[in-house]
Subunit: 418 residues, 2 copies
């Protein structure tokens, strides 16, 4: 099945935002075994959108459009799609119910639904309306008379992604004969090419299931996908390969669940062992705690953290000695160690993590260059300090340091508890 992607929106066309939706949809569709040959971006202009959509509809089986479903005048995706599919429009009862449900969910009354919002309940004839859990624009699947499916999704990623996962992906799999069964094996702290080298035999020899790597900063995801007649057969094809990957990468595999993030896997591990953690951040400046706090229920294992940016703060709150700072500097193995060990004393947390480094761009010396980061983790009195020389600008160095810290925490806990 050939799927084509059209991103609609002047803000993408003008480069005001980066088109992450196209990357997300393309990756997921590849994972579902569907082919994408063309992607287009077009502004909120009905004539040009018509031209692009017409061409896409003629050469592909499914066209997914994102954006341009908002309540304002310049949002014209729905009208244009109806025109290309030669469909009329009607006010849809289900779409109205969805709108009311969303307003109730977000603590607003029906009287607050504006005229523009009600307009969002007008949809093309012969279409399937998709509920939007995170916004007012419903998704729409138009089943055109020639068999093509034209799928309209809202532009904001936090609306588009859940709608795709929960409603569009199952719909697409339903069109295809059989099912696609896939699992993802998420691996930390090994580079993409090293991961690929370690599984070249699996990549080359297998055709069903396939194994495809995908790299994110600090992690590599291996997606194992099988075509099968039903879910049970899919599972039987996929799981032996997943087990093989777990054997090859051992503790570097932090999850095989689609939606579990690195921080969730870590918080789960701490919950399992009834551990509390605390953070002391210098160069990451709160980002590490900020990321861990993104896990709902983290309050079960997290009470407090410090951002000790200045040397004085490192001494005052964590008990780092003035001598250490004078002799080795704040960006040193010794300082990092005193930070996480001092933090354990101050807070009584079983797991403590500390970061100190040079995020750049300035402030480096011949000996200590920007990107130099020390991370120290203390678990039950046992401390491990790691030194990293990270690449990239200030933002990237800080982001990567957070990923490294999450990884060091997980591995240190496993060393002591598993």
């Amino acid at each position: 099945m050939v799927v084509e992607l059209i991103s609609v929106g002047t803000e993408i066309l003008l480069g005001n935002i980066v088109n992450t939706n196209a990357a997300y949809l393309a990756e997921r569709l590849a994972g579902l075994g569907m082919s994408v040959y063309f992607q287009e971006t077009v502004g909120d202009n009905p004539e040009r959108l018509y031209e692009v959509l017409k061409q896409a509809k003629d050469r592909s089986d499914v066209v997914i459009l994102s954006g341009g479903l908002g309540p304002t005048q310049d949002d014209l995706t729905k009208e244009t799609a109806a025109k290309v599919c030669e469909k009329g429009m009607h006010e849809d009862q289900k779409a109205k119910e969805y709108l009311i449900r969303y307003f109730k969910k977000t603590q607003r009354t029906i009287s607050e639904i504006s005229e523009n919002n009600w307009k969002q309940a007008v949809v093309p004839d012969d279409s399937i309306v998709l509920y939007n859990d995170n916004g007012t624009a419903p998704g729409i699947i138009i089943e055109a008379d020639d068999g093509t499916k034209v799928i309209l999704l809202p532009g904001p990623p936090h609306e588009l992604i859940p709608m795709f996962e929960q409603q569009v992906a199952p719909y697409l799999c339903g069109i295809e004969q059989g099912v696609l069964y896939s699992k993802v094996v998420k691996i930390d702290s090994i580079g993409e090419s090293a991961v690929e080298m370690a599984i070249l035999d699996l990549i080359n020899e297998q055709s069903n299931p396939t194994v495809a790597p995908y790299a994110k900063p600090g992690e590599v995801h291996l997606r194992v996908t099988a075509k099968a007649k039903d879910e049970e057969e899919g599972k039987q094809l996929v799981m032996p390969v997943v087990e093989e990957l777990k054997n090859r990468f051992g503790r570097h595999v932090f999850t095989i669940e689609e939606h579990v993030t690195m921080e969730e896997a870590l918080v789960d591990l701490m919950m399992k062992h009834h551990l509390t953690f605390a953070t002391a951040e210098s160069c990451t400046g709160g980002l590490l705690a900020g990321r861990l706090v993104n896990v709902p229920g983290v309050s079960n294992c997290f009470n407090e953290g410090f951002i000790t940016y200045a040397n004085e703060a490192k001494m005052k709150y964590l008990g780092v000695s003035a001598d250490t700072l004078k002799q080795f500097g704040a960006v040193s193995e010794e300082c990092a160690r005193e930070m996480s060990e001092g933090l354990a004393k101050v807070t009584g947390a079983k797991v403590t993590i500390a970061t100190t480094g040079l995020a750049g761009p300035g402030g480096g010396t011949e000996e200590k260059k920007p990107g130099l980061v020390y991370i120290s983790c203390t678990v039950n009195g046992k401390t491990t300090v790691q030194k990293y020389q990270l690449n990239g600008n200030r933002e990237k160095v800080r982001y990567t340091a957070v990923v490294r810290a999450l990884t060091l925490m997980r591995h240190s806990i496993i060393n002591v508890y598993e």
Copy 2:
């Protein structure tokens, strides 16, 4: 002049990487006053690339392709572009010199230039060869017989960006008569539709300069763009409108500089008044400090911050009273106030900011729903507490709370110091 963008590469088509080149090029072209109506992405497939490029060349004045210029077999952009432009290929002396120059620059000898690399010096006839300061693939401008320009750029952003800035942008401006001058006015804490309502007259009445809004979470950017014969004339057209916008939105304008972020504007303001700040975060859990620490040089005004997630931490580090927590709860105006005032006492910072809220999804009550956030800012002993009911999931609530906190800090400082 109408420019069309084509991104070539299977890794983009499959969503393995996000297409930042398209966003970068589109934004720069808009800034240069050129119109982009269509963008396409296509894989390393010569037939489909031919189809897309042919169409683009027929409807646009300039087509910029990025990617597919590498030395390997599957890089076919150059050959396909030559075919579409009906040009032969030849080994180019200048391209060879560039290759040698790059190898010398990267401390390698000419003998290390592989056969595949030499292949990169073969270019379409009648083309201009562009030097690549950061890689082996030269850029190429093909001037087709029908007047269309087809420009080929390497895919890696660190090669593409300098090449565009130093060689392609001047080339394009040379084709166009005159210049485009633009400024951006960045506004905090007013919604996009309210901003639009306040400047409807400017949007509707003006054609040169134009005023175009663009919304980000918690901020709205208004871009004022004029076509002019030179930069001086552009400035004279744009600046009166910028002044008018500054008058209308007053202190909500946090910068008129293209690359200044909200956190940078805030840190600049604090530096100007020699203020130090400290943070105490509950629901934002470090994200607020994490964002402020992204500003290089923030160490001049930032020493320390606390993440006081548990009630005990709020009492222990900030001196919030047990009575307050018992009577009003941690998510309350009273608690927020005691947090920022206690923080000022503990740290001595002139500006202190505290966040406490329910990020969700669970943990709400009938009275206090997820999304309820209190933010308190104390400047020189004067405290302002704001209450917000924010929409969205846990991540969005926390992100928006950070933007609101940055805004409250800036406004509170202006109230006392300006």
